[in-house]
C-alpha cells in the first residue's frame, strides 16, 4: 500500500511507518512526495495544501497525518469538530481542515479516493512506551493510562483515526 505521512519530523515518520505497517499487516511503499513540517504552526499552515497536493499530484493511496498534542487537550471520542466541541484539540483541528478541503476537491484522475488517518501523539503515552522499553515499572502515578486504548483497524477506511488519549497531564515525566 502506498502511504504518505505528514508529521513533524523524519523520526516521527519512521516510527509511524513501522506502526502503520504493523496495523495494516502489510509492507508500505513510499509515495512520490517527501512530506514534513518544521513546527506545529507550520504543520497547520500547510496542512490544507498538503492534503490537496497529495490528493491531486501524488500516487498515494492513503495519507496519515499525525501531530504531537504537547500541552493541548488530548482528543476525546465525545469531541465533534463539526459542532466545535473539540476547541483546542489538535485532532479535531486536523479533522476540520481535512473535511473542509475534501468538500472542495475535484475527484482524482484515475485513482481511488485518498484514504485519510489522523493521529494525535500524547506525551504520556510516548513516555509509557519509553518506560516499557527500558524495563521500568509500568505502574505510573496518577490515573490509569489508556482510558480508551489504541484503536486498531485491519485497513484504513476513507476517514479514520487511531489515537491513544489519556487523562494524564502532558507535563508528566517518569521519575528517575
Amino acid at each position: 500500500m502506498r502511504v504518505g505521512f505528514y508529521c513533524e519530523s523524519p523520526a516521527d515518520r519512521a516510527a509511524l511507518a513501522v506502526f502503520t505497517a504493523a496495523i495494516l499487516g502489510q509492507p508500505l511503499e513510499s509515495i512520490s512526495m517527501d512530506l514534513e513540517a518544521h513546527s506545529v504552526p507550520g504543520f497547520f499552515n500547510a496542512l490544507d495544501g498538503v492534503f490537496r497536493g497529495v490528493h491531486y499530484n501524488s500516487d498515494a493511496e492513503a495519507l496519515i497525518i499525525v501531530v504531537d498534542s504537547d500541552r493541548t487537550e488530548p482528543h476525546e471520542l465525545t469531541h465533534d469538530f463539526q459542532k466545535d466541541t473539540g476547541i483546542g484539540c489538535r485532532h479535531c483541528k486536523i479533522a476540520q481542515i481535512i473535511a473542509r478541503a475534501r468538500n472542495q476537491l475535484k475527484p482524482r484522475q484515475s485513482q481511488a479516493e485518498l484514504k485519510i488517518a489522523i493521529g494525535l501523539a500524547v506525551p504520556s503515552i510516548e513516555a509509557c512506551a519509553w518506560l516499557a522499553r527500558t524495563n521500568r515499572s509500568a505502574k505510573l502515578p496518577g490515573k490509569p493510562v489508556g482510558r480508551q486504548g489504541v484503536h486498531r483497524s485491519p485497513s484504513l477506511s476513507s476517514s479514520e483515526s487511531f489515537m491513544a488519549p489519556t487523562d494524564r497531564q502532558s507535563s508528566w515525566r517518569p521519575n528517575g
Partner: protein, 167 residues
C-alpha cells in the same frame, strides 16, 4: 545604501597595499572608518547587490548563489526591489535593456515574497546526483494547493517538490 545600511553614511576608498584598492565604509555615528575586510558578510553582499543594481551598463545575465546570504530577513524586500530594478528597468524609469537574473536561495522569507509570482520561481528537486527543475506555476493545481498559506510553509512540507529526496 541609506535604506539597506543606515548605520553608514559614506563609501570611501583606500589603498591597503601597493597596487590594491579597498572599500571603506564610514559610520554615521562617530565617523569611524571600517575597511571591507572587517565588514560583515551581509554588508559586503548588500554592497555587491547595490552595485549591480545601479551599474549603468550591467551584464545581460547575472547569476547569484544564495542571494540572501548574511542579510537580515527585513532587508529581503529591498533585495527583491534591487533584482526587479535589473529585470524590469522600465519600472524604475531606466531605459537600458532588461537583465536576466538567476538567483538561488534557501530562505523561506525570500520565497514568500514571490508568492504572487509563481512564474518567477523554479524549484530544484535533488534526487541522488540528479536535479530536476520545475517552475512553480507549472505545478498542477498550484493555486488551490497554496490556498491562503505562506508559500514557504507549503514548500517546506514537500508537497510542491523542491526538497531533497533520498536516492
Amino acid at each position: 545604501m541609506c535604506r539597506w545600511l543606515p548605520e553608514y553614511d559614506h563609501i570611501l576608498f583606500d589603498k591597503p597595499g601597493q597596487g590594491q584598492k579597498g572599500i571603506v565604509l564610514r559610520t554615521r555615528k562617530g565617523g569611524h572608518r571600517i575597511p571591507a575586510k572587517d565588514l560583515s558578510q551581509g554588508t559586503l553582499v548588500a554592497l555587491a547587490l547595490l552595485t549591480l543594481a545601479y551599474l549603468p551598463e550591467p551584464p545581460s545575465v547575472i547569476g547569484l548563489e544564495e542571494i540572501d546570504r548574511g542579510l537580515h530577513p527585513r532587508l529581503l524586500r529591498h533585495l527583491q526591489d534591487a533584482l526587479y530594478r535589473l529585470s524590469y528597468p522600465e519600472s524604475c524609469g531606466e531605459k537600458r535593456p532588461a537583465i536576466q537574473v538567476i538567483a538561488t536561495t534557501h530562505s523561506p522569507y525570500l520565497l514568500d515574497l514571490y508568492r504572487d509570482h509563481p512564474e518567477e520561481v523554479v524549484l530544484a528537486q535533488k534526487e541522488g546526483l540528479e536535479v530536476q527543475f520545475k517552475r512553480l506555476s507549472d505545478i498542477a493545481h498550484y493555486e488551490e494547493i497554496l490556498g491562503d498559506a505562506p508559500l514557504s510553509e507549503v514548500w517546506y512540507s514537500g508537497v510542491l517538490g523542491g526538497v531533497s529526496v533520498k536516492p
